[in-house]
Symmetry: C2
Subunit: 194 residues, 2 copies
């Protein structure tokens, strides 16, 4: 039995901040770790932007409630649950992700927390540095082999820490920097490789 | 967000070996960690017994397929998934537990493996020593507070390692040795305490 560590956004669900950008009409919120590799820089930009536009947590939650898992993600996850123990390792926040986790049947999610005052997001708290790689190493310390699947810069530490790694729908500039990690574009291809 | 670590047998599903005892008519297989606190002694007795009676893995799997989660376990787990990240820490084996995990919606299960030759169980492999406590500490190392729920001797290390611990339907002789750990008999009581 191996542990399958999956990134959330881009692998099982759409990019959450794209949904927020669409709902609020704020174009700059479309940027992701694919555009700004340093997560702290990206989050500072996002929080400054929603502060400036007075976007509330309630507004964001309503935007996220309209999101659905990617087509085929349910079936892929059902397949994975029968062959692996599944853990979702994400740099999102519980306050955002829980409605999506409900739609995925509540697999284990290890991610971060927001700091909220009333209906205002005032800050965020990373659970720890390199949280995804730390989670991979924790499962390895529990004597599991870990297979990891991700798509972006913030997955690289997880992919390098894992015993086996796959890119799923990674942009060229991410995948080209790590050509030893195989790339897959469909769930069928990914299933075949796992 | 906290991690809720739940024992499996006695907490969410019936004792698997009781089901095997019932299906095979072998009375001695009713013994559990509640009767024989040293897990290795108990497993040696079980494996010697099924070897002597030529009980196959197939027979055992059919017995387990007839088991269902405890009444109310589904609802309790659905409640828990919305408030915690849930991990099942068990001393059972993936080869036994997977049909029951399917009935529980595949929460993360950390347990052990059997050594199987053909349809014969020839041995078992503990994932590591004190596997339940090690899993609790792994989540703590990932900066999670851990709440643990168990019922028997093999849960004590997990309960003592956790930030908060509860007994669920523990026999008196287990609970009386650890009077600082609160005891609950129904899922409603447990929900109220968590």
């Amino acid at each position: 039995m191996k542990v399958l560590c999956l990134d959330l956004e881009g692998v099982l669900v759409p990019e959450i901040w794209h949904g927020i950008a669409r709902a609020t009409g704020i174009e700059i919120l479309n940027k992701t770790t694919r555009d700004i590799p340093v997560y702290e820089d990206l989050m500072r930009l996002r929080l400054d932007t929603i502060e400036r536009h007075a976007v509330t947590l309630g507004t964001i939650r309503r935007a996220i409630a309209d999101l659905d898992p990617l087509p085929g993600a349910d079936r892929f996850l059902a397949w994975a649950h029968r062959r692996f123990q599944v853990a979702i390792l994400s740099d999102t926040f519980y306050e955002f992700a829980m409605p999506l986790m409900a739609k995925l049947g509540f697999p284990l999610l290890l991610c971060h927390r927001l700091v909220v005052e009333g209906d205002r997001i005032v800050d965020y708290r990373l659970r720890q540095e390199q949280a995804k790689a730390a989670a991979v190493r924790a499962f390895q310390a529990l004597e599991y082999e870990v297979v990891a699947v991700g798509d972006s810069y913030n997955d690289i530490d997880m992919l390098l820490a894992a015993d086996r790694a796959c890119f799923f729908r990674a942009p060229d500039r991410v995948a080209d920097a790590h050509r030893d990690i195989p790339r897959f574009e469909t769930y069928d291809e990914l299933r075949g490789a796992l």
